[in-house]
């Protein structure tokens, strides 16, 4: 059933003189371009883009799409990414012309419905966070981190606390945490994990002093464990005059059960595309709003939607604001989908979302823990991290082998080799939208793979369009574009 209309590149199916889209004739008196713009600004010819007809264009991209796994075609337990179902109603509603065809700079008076939705989203996210104020602007979680750290820096500057130059980050954290800290002008300091996969309090205490600006914590952490010492940790940070930042990557484990603001976080980001299911689009878009305590609110990026009587407006004149982190309002299309998810679930549904995410993860853990080592206990929150290191020693089966072989059975692989603190890590997150049967079948497959011939696994996958690409070659001899 495969055909080379997908594997040939667009440029290889290009045929001089073909085209897909046609433009209307010019309906105003036409002048020569050189009469309108200087000759030295004009190109001799347009860019040498590909030339394809409509049916070839469609076949190419439709056939290509079949070379992807996706949530709509496969169970996708990619840890830390919260690959839950993306409701179809969201796509329809985001495409309503009254939403999709709004210009970002049109007057507030002409987009009151949109602003009402965004205002409501600000309030909902503040309530879920247990924090006071929300800025919806950041385009992704990583940009939310950066924005929040810039808020912390501005706050400290205002308070005369410029000696606070360090951001403390557990070694199990996402790589974006230290990278964001560096761009925000801080020195990133790594905090060890203890044998239970939680923050090593002794190490934290030894590195905590009046240079500490922010402690960034992912809770539940990337191992899928709730930091049971969170109260003690946030008190330690606050006593030292620091701020606590919650990386909200794992909010799917706690929405409606506990609130970051209640356990001591002063600021956080959401990944709306994860927790509230924006389609991930093979890498984006995301949306990374931040929530903060009242004392940090003046520093939030702009604009913020405010309600003035019955009218909504975008407030940009906030003198202490860090400014904006991107053009225009934010990734509104994803915020809108998140809003639709929250409105569909309501208070009870949000709690059920969390409970079933955690139930599904614990159930899957229970199904596989006798065969796969799970270094950090037999309970988890919304995800767990298994380790293939014993298997590797005993049978030369690595996490990568298991991941690749799962593809043969129609499962997307878990996240592998992250977090760095677990050797041969397989990070598994089923989400709440999967059924018990799906989890049973996945677990059975996983157990079956572990018993397979290691030599066979080393060449897996066997049924995918390609197998084991040569990454070293791609790195050493980079080919990053097609050339004639």
């Amino acid at each position: 059933m495969t055909n080379n209309q997908s594997t040939d590149l667009l440029f290889e199916i290009s045929h001089l003189g073909r085209r897909c889209h046609r433009l209307p004739a010019c309906d105003v008196p036409e002048k020569d371009a050189t009469a309108l713009v200087p000759a030295d600004a004009l190109a001799d010819a347009p860019p040498p883009l590909t030339e394809v007809g409509e049916i070839d264009l469609i076949r190419h991209f439709v056939n290509l799409s079949k070379r992807n796994m996706s949530i709509d075609t496969n169970f996708y337990p990619l840890g830390s990414c919260t690959m839950k179902y993306n409701p179809k109603r969201h796509e329809r509603l985001a495409g309503l012309p009254g939403m999709a065809n709004l210009h970002p700079l049109q007057s507030d008076a002409s987009c009151q419905g949109m602003l009402a939705m965004l205002w409501s989203m600000q309030n909902i996210l503040a309530e879920i966070a247990g924090l006071d104020a929300v800025a919806l602007q950041p385009a992704a979680g990583a940009q939310g981190e950066l924005a929040a750290l810039l808020v912390a820096a501005a706050y400290n500057r205002d308070k005369g606390q410029t000696q606070r130059t360090r951001v403390l980050i557990p070694d199990s954290a996402h790589g974006t945490n230290p990278a964001s800290a560096a761009i925000a002008g801080f020195d990133a300091v790594s905090i060890k994990s203890n044998d239970n996969g939680l923050v090593d309090l002794a190490d934290l205490k030894s590195k905590l002093d009046d240079r500490t600006a922010v402690f960034m914590i992912t809770n539940p952490n990337t191992i899928g464990l709730f930091e049971s010492q969170i109260g003690e940790i946030t008190k330690l940070i606050h006593d030292a005059g620091g701020l606590v930042y919650l990386d909200g990557a794992n909010m799917n484990a706690i929405v409606g059960v506990t609130r970051p603001g209640d356990f001591g976080a002063d600021m956080m980001h959401y990944n709306v595309h994860k927790t509230f299911t924006g389609p991930h689009g093979a890498g984006g878009p995301g949306s990374g709003p931040i929530a903060v305590r009242a004392m940090l609110a003046p520093y939030l990026p702009t604009p913020i939607v405010v309600k003035d009587g019955d009218a909504f407006k975008q407030e940009t004149n906030r003198p202490k604001s860090i400014g904006r982190v991107r053009s225009f309002f934010g990734n509104v299309g994803i915020l809108l989908r998140g809003y639709c998810y929250i409105r569909t679930l309501g208070p009870k549904g949000l709690r059920a979302m969390t409970e079933n995410a955690v139930l599904n993860a614990n159930y899957l853990l229970a199904l596989v823990k006798h065969a796969l080592d799970v270094p950090h206990g037999d309970r988890c929150m919304h995800e767990f991290v298994a380790s293939a290191s014993k298997l590797k020693r005993a049978k030369r089966i690595s996490a990568m082998e298991i991941a690749k072989r799962l593809l043969d059975f129609g499962y997307h692989a878990p996240t592998v080799y992250f977090p760095l603190v677990v050797p041969e890590a397989l990070m598994i997150e089923p989400t709440e939208t999967e059924s018990k049967e799906t989890l049973d079948a996945f677990a059975a497959t996983l157990l079956k793979i572990i018993d397979e011939d290691p030599a066979f696994l080393q060449n897996a996958p066997h049924t995918t369009p390609i197998s084991r690409p040569n990454d070293a070659k791609a790195f050493k001899e980079p080919i990053l574009r097609w050339k004639a």
Binding site: C20, L23, L42, P47, R67, P104, G284, G333
Partner: protein, 448 residues
Amino acid sequence: MPYILNTGADVKAMLDKIGVASVDALFKMVPDAFQLQRPLDVPPALTELELQQHMAELAGKNKAADNAVCFLGGGSYDHFVPAVVDAIASRSEYYTAYTPYQAEASQGSLQAFFEYQTLICELTGLDVANASLYEGGSAVAEAVLMAISIDPERPKVLVAESVHPEYRQTLATYLANIQKEIITLPTPNGALDPAALQNHVDDKTLCVIVQHPNFFGNLEDVNAVSRLCKEKGVLFIVSFDGISVGLLKRPGQYGADIAVGEGQMLGTPMQFGGPYLGMMACREQFVRKIPGRIVGQTVDRNGRRCWVLTLQTREQHIRREKATSNICTNQGLFALRTAVYLAALGPQGLKETANLCLQKAHYLADELCKIPGVSLRFKKPFFKEFTVQVPGDVPTLLRKLLDAGYHGGLPLGRWYPALGNCISIAVTEKRTKAEMDGFVAAMKGAIR
């Protein structure tokens, strides 16, 4: 519960297997003191039908480009999106996939991104493109972070005041705690004066940033700016318009080192500002400094051509605090849209689109300037957007135009106090002569 498949019997069986008595028991890691003892205070649940009605009601309170003819620009444009773009982007094999970590399960997206990168190289006339950034504003900031990693010692960042104000604000935010000096070069005549630039470019200058065509719609003298940069070994960063290069020289042709741009205009709806995508391309020599995801070609174990994420040693998940950028994803779905859009237009389609924008913008400018009191604010060549001075109070004028059915232009006083009596007007290929004539009549009526 919506989207939850576990029945009561399922839950019981699962709890038995786990070995706990209740779902609540699964949360015992969360200290009691922090457990929320009440339901979240969020609005009640809606069925699909109710949600549809609710969203339709909200949408009905907006005046979209379908309800009022859109002459707004400033980085987001009402260009036409061919149906093929939506048809491909609505395939859920693309939109419900995630970052292609497992190359074997992601060849579709990976190849599409490789094609996108190639198309962006062709569009910019540069050697290397990444798989996209968030949007046009942070793309400028990322370009400067990239310039810093290329040339860490030079302290001065020169940016023309004619660069999109929100892009400049974004740059200032990103560099707030980085020891660099941003110098904004005034553009009172609507574009950067190369002679004035000459006084600022020296061996302490890291980079010069211009937007071409700029925020006012005017063309910059990019050839002269490029020459000055080359003389002093300064990196030349340009924020370009993806449609304009159907007619105008491409960034690589006039010597840009790094080109960035807002990709919205190439096949993505305006959707109130996002999600969009930031295009970025650079010269070959900077390939290991470019931020963001990059897809490369390689072969698999059977020698078959295939695609992978590559050069990841630049990235945050390997380099952590030493990474060039904290960026974690591209805007995959919009890179796909852009690739389909550019392929659908082809060279001829892009040229014709650009020409229609150019012709219609000039027609409208000519017609508007026949109205007493209305005149072009700058004597500079422009592409699809232009700045006019209007009599009277600008907000009142724009309100009247909106009532007459037109999103009439951007009030530039919002960003440039000296231009309080000016609006910028954008004209895409979608605008018909009838719409423009109607707009001119409405403008006459509103001014009278």
